[in-house]
Symmetry: C2
Subunit: 336 residues, 2 copies
Amino acid sequence: MRVSLKDVALHAGVSIKTVSNVVNDQPHVTPTMRARVQKSIDELGYRPNLTARHLRKGRTGIVALALPELGNPYFAELAAEVVDAAAEHDYTVLLDHTGGRRDQETLVSQGFRARVIDGLILSPIELEAEDLRQRAEPVPLVLLGEREYDLPYDHISIDNVAAAREAVRHLISLGRRDIAFLGARRGRSQPAHLRLRGWREALDAAGLVADHRLVAATDGWGHADGAAAMARLLDAGHRPDAVFAYNDLIAIGAMRVLSERGLRIPEDVAVVGFDDVVEGRFGAVTLTSVSPDKASIARMAVESVLSQLNGAPRHQARRIHAGYSLVERESTLGRG
Amino acid sequence: MRVSLKDVALHAGVSIKTVSNVVNDQPHVTPTMRARVQKSIDELGYRPNLTARHLRKGRTGIVALALPELGNPYFAELAAEVVDAAAEHDYTVLLDHTGGRRDQETLVSQGFRARVIDGLILSPIELEAEDLRQRAEPVPLVLLGEREYDLPYDHISIDNVAAAREAVRHLISLGRRDIAFLGARRGRSQPAHLRLRGWREALDAAGLVADHRLVAATDGWGHADGAAAMARLLDAGHRPDAVFAYNDLIAIGAMRVLSERGLRIPEDVAVVGFDDVVEGRFGAVTLTSVSPDKASIARMAVESVLSQLNGAPRHQARRIHAGYSLVERESTLGRG
DNA sequence: CGTCAGCATTACAACGATGCAAAGCGATGT
DNA sequence: ACATCGCTTTGCATCGTTGTAATGCTGACG
């Protein structure tokens, strides 16, 4: 069995409370006493029982992070950043993944999966505002990602519209005119709408037509979905001279298909992705991509949870934009 | 504040324990009583406080998973599998990452990072046997990965030597003779030694020389490390006709350098990786790779932790081999 | 009608830690 | 020598839940 305060107290010949005071660095403990108790603590190898502490104090030191899928390197990289950011505050991260399914996301938001947590950082895909409106859970919640809700929860993301606009403007500056968008989620009410809006706005601003036939829906957000969408576009007889993808995986899947069809990147088709995952930096053609500042997203998410825990007013939600940059690589090199 | 058993008991006009019995589906509760209490539970929206339950029962329902780096898709994919496997047993996963550093790995193994866990699944990189020998922690531990220790802990991995042998044998069967190995960790006592041994054994068995000049060390396990190692090899005047990499990321990094130097894959240089990460299936040249059965690794790891929790003898450790297969793709296509 | 078996319900203690308030103790002032 | 002050140390209750043991109650049986 584990060593408890009681054992240490017995060993040191003092009261339980005194040991507790030493452990918690309370004032009003004489150096002598502190030393004596510390000795017993060390000898017995005492370590506080966080469960008990939590029961008493109402804190666990754990924040949950619920992501659509860990297999997507963007989320994996983000998770790593969150773990680090949490560690800075002596917090650990409990990981959950929802598969981007609405029922799972709802369950997680209501605390059904993990109930021993101080806060929740959730990156929703299909969750609807109404699902959250019914949330009775007192646990602080922070939302990440592209979905926007008019609800009293902090929301952290980059300015997706502006970032998408910048990406497409970059393609236009290279002289591209027929710019496809890959990755509007098929059959969804909110299909990647912010990035799609940025695409449209950039085209409008340049006096180009936003041809909806160049918008290809996908079922998911992986390589295979990008490949399928690209193939569909080409099979339908379209030959865009540039592609802006919802994310890097879709872009990479698309690039694969483009080269299978004998199209050169960037000469024939320039490609821009979104997320700046490591993978995009090492393909045969490196990928130009919008690079969200993952570290600061993670940091702000953790800080939001902690500030809510420390009594920040929960009714006024903040919409926080993290930084981003467009990283240009081979897939948009030179003039097309 | 949250609703507790006490509140429900008051509301229903019964004792706390009776409510507890209803909640836990204990026998010896009359249907009438059960209905009455259930009504109060529903009306008040009671949900058990897991922290208190855990304090009482000594279990938290959380297993920790400590990985070297989440940024590596192999580990991210594995983490996703572990989360799923744990969920099947109503367990959630607490994620930690060690950066593959020995001090972090030691801390994690001793429970310093996360102290609210029922078990720990650890994938060590630099941890030494002595670090674990001093482990006093009563929490069940399972080890994953290539490192082998003669210690009383279950260890789950694939048969790295056999898998590496098979990969290299495949290259030999394509007529390749000068087969490089990329990824022995530089300056380490146990540099990827199992996969390296498989490489050597396959060459020996085929009557080929295992030329140690074709073994290139790396600093880490990422794309950049593979690229650097490949560049170093080529710069030194070596021109292998095949490359076997410690993992897919290193392989992909190497492929990038190979094509930069105008070498064709697989015509000039065939490449085999290890891990079968999704990324390898969507490059310009898809990557042949050893594919460990991640799902069953995850499942067995979780089951090992749970069986230890349920009193399985801890002194006799098991060495468990999961399945794997060699998936052939474009990077080793046809005859060279 | 009284007794007892047997099930339903309850009271109490405990898991380990901490907040609060009271008790202990040495030093100081008169 | 004694009252007082102030810091150190302690005892007790408590967080929400569950295991154990005791109690209450109903109905069957003699």
